[in-house]
C-alpha cells in the first residue's frame, strides 16, 4: 500500500516538473541585473571597431545604456542617435527630447542597415 502512495507522489512530482518545463515563464528582463553597464557612445564605438565580435558578446544579454534621448517613436526611444530601445508598454513613460536617461533592456542585435543597436523589453532605471 505504501508503495502505491510513493508511486503516486512520484508521478505528481514529475507531472509538476514537466508542466513547469513546458509552460515556463518568459525571462523577466525588468528583474534581471544588467551584465554590462555602458554609455551609448562607448557601446557604439565598440560596434564601429568590430560589429561581429561585439554582437556575439552582447547577444541576448541584459545591458544598461545611458545617454541622451534623440528620438521618440511610437514604440521606443533612440538614445544618442545610436541605440534604439523598444518598450513593451511605452504609454506610461514620461520622457522628452534631449533628456538624460538610463535604460535597461535585452540586446537583440546590431542593425547594419541603419547602423543602430537594438534593445527590447526595455525599462527606465531610476538613479
Amino acid at each position: 500500500m505504501k508503495k502505491w502512495k510513493l508511486i503516486t507522489l512520484a508521478i505528481i512530482i514529475f507531472a509538476f516538473i514537466g508542466f513547469n518545463y513546458v509552460f515556463k515563464d518568459h525571462r523577466n528582463i525588468n528583474k534581471e541585473a544588467p551584465e554590462f553597464k555602458l554609455n551609448a557612445e562607448d557601446l557604439t564605438t565598440e560596434f564601429q571597431i568590430n560589429p561581429e565580435k561585439s554582437e556575439t558578446k552582447y547577444l541576448n544579454k541584459t545591458i544598461s545604456v545611458s545617454g541622451v534621448i534623440s528620438e521618440i517613436d511610437k514604440s521606443g526611444v533612440t538614445i544618442s542617435n545610436q541605440v534604439f530601445c523598444v518598450f513593451d508598454d511605452k504609454a506610461k513613460l514620461e520622457i522628452k527630447h534631449n533628456q538624460n536617461i538610463n535604460i535597461k533592456g535585452r540586446f537583440i542585435g546590431y542593425d547594419d542597415l541603419l547602423e543602430i543597436i537594438k534593445l527590447d523589453q526595455c525599462s527606465i532605471i531610476n538613479n
Partner: protein, 177 residues
C-alpha cells in the same frame, strides 16, 4: 537667365534626392507554422527595420532573429537554439526591388533575396500593398516559404506539430526621412 535655371535645377535635384527615403525602425513581421489542432506556432517581431528608396523602388529590410517573440517561452528558446540558431545567424534580411514602382498605384509586386539561417532564397512576384499618406508609406503583404529552403530542420518527434510551410506577414509604416 540660364544660370538661374541651372541653379533651380540643382536645387530641385537636391530636393528630390533628399526626400527619396522612407524608413521605419518599428516594422512588424509575424510568422506562423501551426498545424491545425496542435498548439499554435507563431511569433512576432515589432522592431524590424525597413527602407524604401522612392526614386528607384529599391527596398531593404532587416529583422533581428532574437526579436521574434513567442507566447510560449520554451518554444521561443527552441526556435532560437535549434531552428534559427540565432547566436550564429542573428539577422534575417530581405533586399530587393518593387517592380514598376511609381507612387501612383496601391498595388505592386516585389522581388528580391531573403536571407535567414545563413541561407538565401530568391522570392519573386510577391504582391504588396502600398498606402501613401503625406509623409508616410504603409506597406503590407504576406508570403509563404518552406523551412527546407533555409535548411531549417524539424526534428521527427515534433514534425507533425510544426508546419513545413511558413506563412509570413509584414506591415511597415515608413516615414519620410
Amino acid at each position: 537667365m540660364k544660370k538661374i535655371f541651372y541653379i533651380f535645377l540643382l536645387l530641385l535635384s537636391y530636393f528630390i534626392q533628399g526626400q527619396s527615403k522612407y524608413i521605419t525602425k518599428t516594422g512588424l513581421i509575424s510568422f506562423e507554422a501551426s498545424v491545425p489542432s496542435f498548439e499554435e506556432v507563431t511569433a512576432r517581431n515589432n522592431a524590424v527595420t525597413a527602407i524604401i528608396n522612392t526614386q528607384n523602388g529599391e527596398f531593404a529590410s532587416l529583422a533581428l532573429v532574437n526579436g521574434f517573440r513567442f507566447k510560449n517561452a520554451l518554444m521561443e528558446e527552441h526556435f532560437n537554439e535549434n531552428y534559427a540558431e540565432s547566436s550564429e545567424f542573428p539577422k534575417t534580411t530581405f533586399k530587393g526591388k518593387i517592380i514598376e514602382f511609381s507612387l501612383k498605384s496601391n498595388e505592386y509586386k516585389i522581388e528580391g533575396d531573403l536571407t535567414f539561417h545563413g541561407k538565401t532564397k530568391s522570392l519573386k512576384n510577391i504582391p504588396i500593398k502600398l498606402e501613401i499618406i503625406d509623409n508616410e508609406i504603409i506597406m503590407s503583404g504576406n508570403f509563404e516559404v518552406k523551412t527546407s529552403d533555409f535548411e531549417v530542420k524539424i526534428p521527427k518527434i515534433v514534425a507533425n506539430k510544426v508546419s513545413e510551410l511558413v506563412k509570413v506577414n509584414f506591415l511597415f509604416k515608413l516615414i519620410k526621412k
